[in-house]
Symmetry: C2
Subunit: 403 residues, 2 copies
């Protein structure tokens, strides 16, 4: 897939010493022009310092963002007031280098919670990055470099881009573990050279996030740091997108980028061996469908059965049963879906198990991609979420994440 890059942005990644080995651990995106910017943040009450810092900045009506700094190694979360001081100081270092004020700079952190930022390393990294940006000739390489620098337990960089009518939208993300609906431990930086008013940009990001990042579940934990930032600098030179059709087209293009990034997170979930689509249909409303999908997708029993390619569908119904939603056992139906989300094997109808071809079900579940569709038979609402299995490798990674 060709990577398209938006005009007027430079981006780079490097190693500054936040990660113990030689991997890249800090990235910087700089726009030549101030950006209209929208953000979506974690709802976790233990918000990390950079989240609080960014929310403050973006709450200002005249926020004009020039740069986004992202580091790994430390999440700068549960670090008290010194953490906030460090977030502000990092922004100041960037502002000094690129010639703006700290209010024009956002910061993102991911890594171990409770570990203070190593500010010497941060400063070193910012100096290196500013130098790299001033000499950059290949923007695509810069995006790749930055996508690599924000990785934690990710095994591969995650980038997506789409060309709209006269503009480009490009994004990078990191995820791996702790991914749940309503924003997950993931950072995403998305940049576009479209010109678009703040209200339309914010609305587009909310819509796109609901259809993408909020539909993925890796392990159900929601992090202290989850953030999606969308910067628009207008450098494509087109006129400002104001018409509802133009904004809708922008939203669709943005959604395409976000879905590609979100699905890449699930596919690269910690230890994941399967990409599983869960459809919950026939609910009385979307909220209850989502609540059931969340219960299923975070059930350790369901996820280990996915891992074992075991069509042990009773665990799915049991999770729906304890989700807190009022379901009628006599109405539920369940299908195993193929990789194209088409019903492949009918397992349950009207709450009663059907005779089914178990070897065929196992064979399908041994492939990389399939799903389940649960129909509650109660109403018209339906949701789809994407999740993965719970493997030995997940336990290995998270039993020894810090070492």
């Amino acid at each position: 897939m060709t990577l398209h890059t938006p005009n007027g942005f430079r981006i780079a990644g490097t190693h500054c010493g936040l990660k113990p080995d030689e991997r890249k651990d800090i990235a910087l995106l700089v726009s030549d022009h101030p950006c209209v910017t929208a953000g979506v943040f974690t709802t976790n009450k233990m918000k990390a310092a950079p989240v609080l810092y960014d929310m403050d900045i973006l709450a200002q009506p005249d926020a004009a963002i020039r740069a986004v700094l992202a580091n790994t190694g430390s999440a700068n979360a549960c670090t008290g007031d010194p953490g906030l001081v460090n977030a502000r100081q990092s922004a100041k270092h960037v502002a000094d280098r690129i010639g703006c004020t700290p209010d024009n700079v956002l910061t993102l952190s991911t890594g171990v919670i409770g570990l203070p930022l190593n500010m010497d390393a941060m400063k070193r990294g910012i100096i290196t990055l500013a130098d790299q940006l001033s000499q950059q000739t290949d923007p695509a390489a810069g995006w790749q470099e930055a996508a690599t620098a924000i990785m934690t337990t990710d095994t591969r960089p995650k980038i997506a881009s789409v060309q709209g009518k006269g503009y480009t939208i490009t994004g990078i993300t990191k995820g791996a573990g702790m991914i749940a609906p309503n924003m997950a431990t993931m950072l995403a930086i998305i940049a576009t050279d479209a010109a678009i008013p703040h209200s339309a940009l914010t609305h587009a990001l909310r819509q796109a996030t609901a259809q993408s990042f909020n539909r993925i579940v890796v392990d159900g934990d929601m992090s202290t740091n989850d953030t999606v930032l969308l910067l628009a600098n207008g450098a494509a030179g087109g006129r400002t997108l104001t018409g509802s059709a133009e904004v809708a087209a922008f939203t669709a293009a943005l959604t395409e980028v976000c879905v590609a990034l979100a699905q890449a997170i699930v596919r690269d979930g910690e230890g994941a061996t399967k990409f599983v689509t869960l459809q919950v249909a026939g609910a009385t409303d979307t909220a209850s469908a989502r609540q059931i999908a969340q219960a299923i997708a975070t059930s350790a029993l369901v996820k280990t059965a996915f891992y074992g390619a075991d069509p042990n569908w009773g665990r799915i119904l049991a999770a729906a049963g304890y989700s807190g939603v009022d379901v009628d056992p006599a109405r539920v139906a369940l299908w195993l879906l193929d990789a194209q989300n088409q019903p492949a094997i009918h397992l349950v109808e009207s709450g009663t198990p059907l005779d089914y071809d178990e070897p065929a079900a196992i064979a399908l579940m041994q492939t990389d991609e399939w799903g389940f569709r649960l129909d509650l038979g109660l109403g018209p609402a339906e949701v789809e979420v994407w999740t993965c299995d719970l493997s030995h490798e997940y336990v290995t990674i998270n039993g020894h994440y810090r070492t």
Copy 2:
């Protein structure tokens, strides 16, 4: 520990072919006299047939129970109307053998969901059990046999007994996976030869369950079959417990049995290598303290850190943060507790990480039993729950449970 057994009960376990190998898979408790009986059942909406059947029987004001049949191999859950017919038919087979009506017989099932009961095997098992009971000379051996017969992924039988003032309370349980607060995939059969009115018995069981089975978390899933039954046949010959002090003493003795059984479940959790006590204190109310404890105890990230003996306390605070309870990050304090639940290492104060002896924390967490105490600093309410870690072995067991 000496096993005390209540008068007037006979109990046995045998193999009838519900499990593929030669392990015992069916158990029967019979009382010489009709019992006053209390039950606590799963709140899962997908209640198994035996749960619905038992709830119906115990809803009758004059319920007089003579026997409890328990099988493994199939949970008789999500089996539709044929499942209810099979539950009733099983009770009838027992009633025919011991000379009572099906309304005097309760049934319990555990095992794979969606798999119909093998009624030929059940009938064979009931005939064998009735023969065994008629020849039984060693009641303690019978309790052991039954505790073994109700095991699924349990690695050992779980029995507890207490002698009260003139009566005995004895219980068996099975658990292992799918254990969460508010009743978990566990069955417990508790029998006493005390004479006690139905209302006092029911109240005592609710109290005891709240302090025991509802405080354990293995993997957060809540099953379709969870049931605790308490039968009282009065065969000790003492007078009926009616005074409030007598009932309180009975409740305390029952709680002791239930706590021993519940902790045995956590210690034998699927793949568990640690017994972890979680105290959440300083909450505004008990419900919110419980909600936070539940979020922590079911977090895959927290549980894998427990497994890795990694004092990665940020994951605990992050789980508290996404629990849905309004916490104030600036007020939280956190301690690592030793095996006696005494604060051993102070990790966080007023939301700020403290310098602590990390090697000492790791060394403590490498032992079998310890805990964490989280103080929210918001109010007087406190809860304590017991949980375990999430290990490679858990994934192995549940990736291939049915094979």
